[in-house]
Symmetry: C2
Subunit: 196 residues, 2 copies
DNA sequence: GTCTATAACCCGATAGAC
DNA sequence: GTCTATCGGGTTATAGAC
């Protein structure tokens, strides 16, 4: 079963949006990368923005199979899973000379007045990520103090990753990403040792 | 002394880049907002990107007078200064319905393959911010454990702010920003009480 | 230094045959 | 479903008078 045209368009757009951003990717770029003609794209999608919606939906459905499962392979401890996920983002930065970060975050900051449907899907992607990490901290149980807000801790992990990617991408160095993750690790360690 | 044409262009571009981003702001937008004609802009600047360079340079020179001094007015304690600065970003989000965040961060993620001069100025802006916050943590002296890396802590504060802005802008709610800053505050509190 | 007009180009989207 | 050709409009930047 060869990949159908629609999937080829979405996949090509996903790669291009991650590499160059949404605004800097032209429909012609997508057509060329997908090996498809304009008529086909506009047969499946009303316009460029609807391609973005399909891409964001693909990211959303891919959170578990494409993001979390690879990162968590062989890692059972819930707290280690949080840092295993961050380590996967580090590898993405490392293997692209600090060029490739989190595509959701990039698009979220690129679009200043996004269409409501786009903004909704961006938010859903963050929520999916946060739910998974919150669950890790919940599963950590009494290794963390009871009064520590698991959801807020998940948000903190996300800001650490996104902020670290932003600064590392800007100075083309992993220092900032590593500094931020190291501080988060120290914080979580101190929480684990609190009250013992 | 009326503001000269060049300054009007840079100021108008600064506002527009912050509101709509660099790519979505046309030269015509800048001309209209500045009340200036195309010939004037291209007399002072070789092109649009050079206007961006001037804007980033203005942000860099404005870090102390425009950003830090207002945030730190009446705040002497170095650690409180860190959170006073974060509170100022919160007010910017709040007063714009979570639309306006950090313009440097937005541009940093919008431009995927920035001109070296642009990337250099973005990095310098981050460095200026980090130097100031690092200095706060240094001035905190022995209120923080000696083995805590002051620079890394400053990076952590920056990722908290930038990541918090990103997520709050996306879901148009201050929850994420507040969660992240609350966690950072808890971490700093625990550091202050460590070893006592 | 400032103005108007316009060149030269690229964009997203469409039309209509097949 | 797919193809080619093209429309209409917005873009950055320039030319040349003043």
């Amino acid at each position: 079963m060869p990949p159908d045209t629609k999937d080829k368009i979405v996949y090509a757009a996903m790669m291009l949006f991650a590499q160059k951003g949404y605004g800097s990717t032209s429909v012609a770029d997508i057509l060329h990368a997908a090996g498809v003609n304009a008529g086909s794209l506009y047969y499946f999608f009303p316009g460029k923005q609807d391609v973005l919606l399909a891409v964001l939906d693909a990211y959303l459905r891919g959170i578990h199979p494409m993001l979390l499962e690879p990162a968590w392979k062989g890692v059972a401890d819930p707290i280690e899973r949080v840092f295993a996920l961050l380590a996967q983002y580090r590898r993405a930065l490392e293997s692209t000379e600090c060029t490739y970060g989190c595509p959701i975050g990039s698009i979220a900051l690129e679009l200043h007045e996004p269409d409501p449907a786009v903004r909704q899907l961006l938010a859903s992607n963050f929520v999916g990520w946060l739910n998974a990490i919150e669950q890790c901290f919940i599963e950590a149980g009494d290794r963390l103090p009871a009064d520590v807000d698991r959801r807020a801790l998940a948000v903190f992990a996300l800001t650490t990753m996104e902020g670290g990617v932003m600064i590392s991408r800007t100075d083309r160095t992993l220092h900032a990403f590593d500094d931020a993750v190291r501080m988060l690790r120290d914080y979580v360690n101190r929480l684990q040792h609190a009250g013992r």
